[in-house]
Symmetry: D2
Subunit: 326 residues, 4 copies
């Protein structure tokens, strides 16, 4: 990183939806962009300092959580999410120039993409055989290879635009027109992004014990402070069947007292809780904060408790304390 | 209070169970002891400085909460409970010398005492008429008055012992041999009594709103921190039917992090919550503290959250953070 | 009960607020009305069949629960509350004709009434001595007795109106102009009063164990079914300090599925739970029922579960079951 | 299905771990076994009647839930899980005879298998390139094909045993020696498998609304009845980001009152809840049932509520009802 510009890793190869997500980061177009062959490899570039940050997918509105990412950020050297990016997912079917739709016998793409275009495939080329690919872009670029053993690929519009050797046979072939994938930009721990009033906080919480209510206790740390959750996923710890950790997105920023208090509560219940960052929501939707969980309410409560413990005589003050009896 | 000895008010007159409770306080025998005609009068002596502390009853194992006390300490200038005393309640029937049981037609005592001796009365002098008295001692001492309009009184053994003019017709006439009354010693706000590991904390919490679950939110402030409750009573605020405050005894001392945290939670939900003190349990029964609500757990959690907010890079530390995935 | 008209017991003597409450019952004016010297005596008349029902006070907006009633209906042979009546509480000061306010030295009344007129007394006859009475009416009627040892009495307007021998020295002397007492009409178990859409259900629930959260489990039986509570009081069981039962009023009628389900839940947690009746609210305020706790929701849920257990093949039905995945 | 023997579909091809799971079913060895190219295809054979049941994977101790299965059973025509099977996952590396480990350049397998052997690969053939396969068996069998473009495959021991044309280069190459995959046998709705005292119940519950506590309300339906959860996973409904359903395994059988009651509660909160079956646990671990949630407790509670509603006079019965007051 000897130069002045920043270096961003991303889940490659070039032309993936992940690169499209990265390009939404203000300075990414001018930055060095390094593709990584898988999520772990991308995050390792951040961990070893060869990249300033990495863009990886975390959640798809159709396919769900990206388990490779959920697991990779939950373990190893700590990282922080500093930004989220939403990318509408739209698929195109590409082939070498001259190939027509009716010629297509074998189609390659990533498994998630295949799952999201199944209805279109069934209606249009029902007899096409599926050839698994490691990414949508890899499948598309494979077509440019001389001895490719499939005829077409499903990929992002970006990769088709960037490679004139690919011809688009069909656009918008995804079954769910509103499909969106959420990406996160991950860096080493450092100062938290500033509060914007529309933030998210991500944590990883190992389930402490297998007893009725353990998960409820965890959720209660949020609910009892009026903190809404926007995502919760269980992942196996890998130790044995039924041993989980939870990956959770909560509304709010760790700089808010109610979120900080919830984090402290999680740490008490499950001391191996991992904080993964507070960052601005991509949709800019402001968080509603119940009055009794505002920073002011927390400050007032703390001040009150402190005055009790400080044992300052309040006997002479008029109006001190409650008078519940009229 | 110009002298060197302390002044204690108590719910009088002399000879009540309350004076018996006061005499359990180490320096009370040598102190100035001032009877008060009612609970409010006793507490007012503390508030205006004419007494250092006041002993008043708060709860009876048979009759329940002493509402006069519950209401009096919940309102007005703030006070603090600094000690609790348990007194086994045992009743005697007294009369003027020469009066026999079969002569008794009218019996006076305080309403609570009457309620606690009803079975004995029904079995032994079923036709006796009840004459309400303002206290057990007042009823007993009234017998020494020339034109007393009743024949016998139910009172504490103490008053009979102190007044030779009273003859004991029967002992242990209470229906419930294990009856106990709990008394509290109340002072002006000052340094809290020290933690003993077997403490109680008393609070008054106005119910914030009439909605399903408001009371549960209050109780959850204790339960979610593993704090057990030993007493809970609802009292009307007097404003309208159905508007309550709750008087609550919780196990633990405000100097414990989990109790302090629960207090802060109560204050957020119900800002007019009133703290009434932390003090040693009379029964010396140590409080069991779940590991995840120990002071250590709170300190560790706070330190962890602070390190997140301080944004100290922990990237280089080995072993930092959780690794839920094996 | 040999005649055709009904017999009502009430907490006497005549002229008490309780009789005023009884007179609000449609057929009470024509019925036989029998005063009882205390709450237990009144209820026993119902239990032994010498009265059809008894009117007793249960709750005062200023003084709180009437513990004698709370305890009496919680034990012994089962009874049912079939109606509630609200009576605004207004006090008058009465004396024998010719006695002026400035002549009054000693004032008698029931302890609750004395507590509710204290401010007026302090402002107008601060030196008056208090003489306890067993009821407001008893104190007032005592004045008509030749050798009465007090000068005035605080009582209900009703008793003054009914006895010309009493002269009213002052009206509306209660400190809280909005004071209200709630009375209940109690009968032997029988068909429940019909649902009106604005009902209450009263239960007595012994706290099963002294553990954190036991009370919350009880409350959760109501909250989880959207049933609001309008009153909750703890009472000692009398066995030992800290052993309670709870007297609870909940919105709704046992004929409603959500209330019946909550009752079943209470019975599971605390098998000695006692049902004290479902009856129309005196204030006619309709109960709001969340959609997912309506009778329809319960019926639909039960039907669904039954169909699962009956193992009827639903495979062929279109639209059966959920399709959470779009 | 014209013959006498049953027909089982399974996620093929032959030699997968899924076939190994199927062979654990008592009559499967003698039955017709039909491989399906993907989970949906296997389930569709059950739905259209061409198979009696289908065996598909649902959860892996390392990789987590099998999303294709979770989604496929949550939608479409209803199905029932009638059995679960656990299969220890052990991987072998196979190649054509004569190929040595040091010759291996490109390795094919299913993505999940690749993820579970990464450490072994890094240590032994770190430069091997990954070639995605649609299943472990497909990758292995591909080696038998003349123009195969990879050198080795990771697969189950079963497939290596069944195909002499495959030579085993290494055994037990999985990174987690305790890895287990859970499979489910799925049929059309019919009579539930009998209760064994060690059962599981699987449901799919769409999250009713995006509000704090909605998930807690769902979990509370289980917790408040002492029903433990052994698996919970969120899956996107596909409608929009943040819209989930939950796939849940609970301990117990729908024939148990507490489970049936929890199901009814779920249906009220989320009427599109889908029941996926009650079946014996593979590990035979008996379920602990708290006394207050036993069938007896439910029956007693229901009987009690019914007697209240039936308005049978219990006045004369001795011992009826509670006597919380000693």
């Amino acid at each position: 990183m000897g130069g002045t510009s920043r270096t961003y890793a991303f889940l490659g190869p070039e032309g993936t939806f992940t690169e499209a997500a990265l390009l939404q980061v203000p300075d990414a177009a001018q930055a060095v962009r390094v593709p990584a062959s898988n999520v772990n490899a991308g995050l390792d570039k951040v961990r070893d300092g060869s990249a300033d940050a990495a863009m990886v997918p975390i959640e798809n509105s159709v396919e769900g959580g990206v388990t490779a990412t959920l697991d990779a950020i939950a373990t190893g050297q700590e990282l922080r999410i500093i930004r989220e990016v939403l990318v509408p997912i739209s698929f195109v079917l590409v082939a070498r120039p001259g190939v027509r739709l009716e010629d297509v016998r074998r189609v390659s793409t990533h498994g998630h993409a295949w799952a999201q275009c199944r209805l279109w495939m069934d209606r249009n080329i029902p007899d096409a055989e599926y050839v698994p690919g490691s990414s949508t872009a890899a499948s598309a670029l494979g077509l440019l290879d001389g001895n490719c053993h499939y005829d077409a690929a499903i990929c992002a519009p970006l990769v088709a635009r960037e490679h004139p050797g690919l011809s688009v046979l069909a656009e918008n072939i995804g079954d769910n027109p509103g499909a969106v994938t959420r990406f996160i930009l991950v860096s080493r721990p450092g100062p938290l992004p500033e509060r914007t009033g529309a933030d998210k906080t991500t944590v990883v919480v190992p389930l402490p014990e297998d007893r009725p209510g353990a998960l409820m206790e965890i959720l209660d740390q949020f609910a009892s402070r009026g903190v809404n959750l926007s995502r919760i996923e269980s992942r196996p710890t890998g130790q044995y069947l039924g041993h989980y950790f939870f990956s959770i997105d909560a509304d709010g920023h760790a700089g808010e007292a109610r979120v900080a208090d919830a984090l402290a509560g999680l740490h008490r219940i499950s001391p191996r809780t991992r904080f993964l960052g507070s960052y601005a929501r991509a949709d800019r939707q402001a968080t509603l904060v119940p009055a009794h969980t505002s920073d002011e309410a927390f400050t007032a409560a703390r001040t009150w408790v402190r005055s009790i413990l400080a044992a300052e005589s309040t006997a002479g003050e008029s109006g001190s304390g409650a008078s519940p009896k009229a």
